[in-house]
Symmetry: C2
Subunit: 137 residues, 2 copies
DNA sequence: ATGCTACTTTATAATGATTCTAAAAAAAGT
DNA sequence: ACTTTTTTTAGAATCATTATAAAGTAGCAT
């Protein structure tokens, strides 16, 4: 399933050659049973911890953005100063705890179907994203 | 209605002394019949165009953030390369056109009531924001 | 009004995330 | 193997935002 050949395919689909560094990035991103959220800096830290090698930030940025373009990663819209990414690419929403900065998935089926009763002339909806901000009770 | 005394009140409520610069910022922000969206840079440009005076960026940042803290402005969650603000502080959502970067209000009554069927232990919902991304038909 | 104190403004520097660059390294093609 | 193209990398550049510290202003007590 999530083996090197799968990573090579993902990379080729994204228009990227399967290099050593990119395969390593794939291992961190996709070789898990659970999906997860990350910032580029967190990803960089995970890579340097889990893997002895150092991959330059520029390479991480390039690879993550190529995967996002291809749909293997989603970028999450948080009211913030940095970008969050999600390895869960299915359609879903998020909880965000502004205190802990923690992101939690909110599955599509956990939200009553949303009906948008307004439309913009000449435009069609490409996505509907809900961000539920939470605080301590 | 939206006169200097009203601005002075807004400023005092926000814990700010009513200075010349802050009154000018209020005029641009609140002395209109329509609400609008802006980035700090756009606001800065509007100020230097509409008003002969130059107000430093630091002052604009400080004032906008104080108003946000006090609830006279809302910050909108968009692609996180810069912050967008809204002078419409009523509860509502947004359309965002990624091509034109245009933001449009989506009133609360234009969205079928949202039911979140999941909750996080020890947390309560503080806000639910919908961002509808649109593209050309 | 005058003077004192605390708050503001301002230009500029600092920061932090992201993007760019150009040279060295690696991969692909011949 | 040799040449060409792509990639990696460290460091520089950029952009939004925040911090700083000196000079200016508001508020208050006299």
């Amino acid at each position: 399933m999530n083996s090197v050949s799968n990573f090579v395919e993902k990379l080729r689909n994204s228009g990227l050659r399967p290099t050593k560094q990119r395969i390593k990035i794939c291992e961190v991103l996709f070789n898990t049973d659970k999906t997860f959220h990350f910032t580029i800096n967190e990803l960089s830290k995970i890579i340097s911890e889990k893997i002895e090698e150092k991959i330059s930030l520029a390479t991480i940025y390039n690879t993550v953005h190529a995967f996002k373009r291809e749909g293997y990663l989603k970028e999450i819209t948080i009211n913030s100063d940095k970008s969050y990414f999600d390895t869960n690419t299915s359609h879903h929403h998020h909880f965000f705890d502004n205190l802990t900065k923690e992101l939690t998935d909110l599955n599509d089926e956990d939200v009553e179907k949303i009906q948008i009763k307004k439309s913009l002339p000449g435009k069609k909806i490409s996505s509907v994203e809900i961000l539920v901000k939470v605080e301590n009770e």
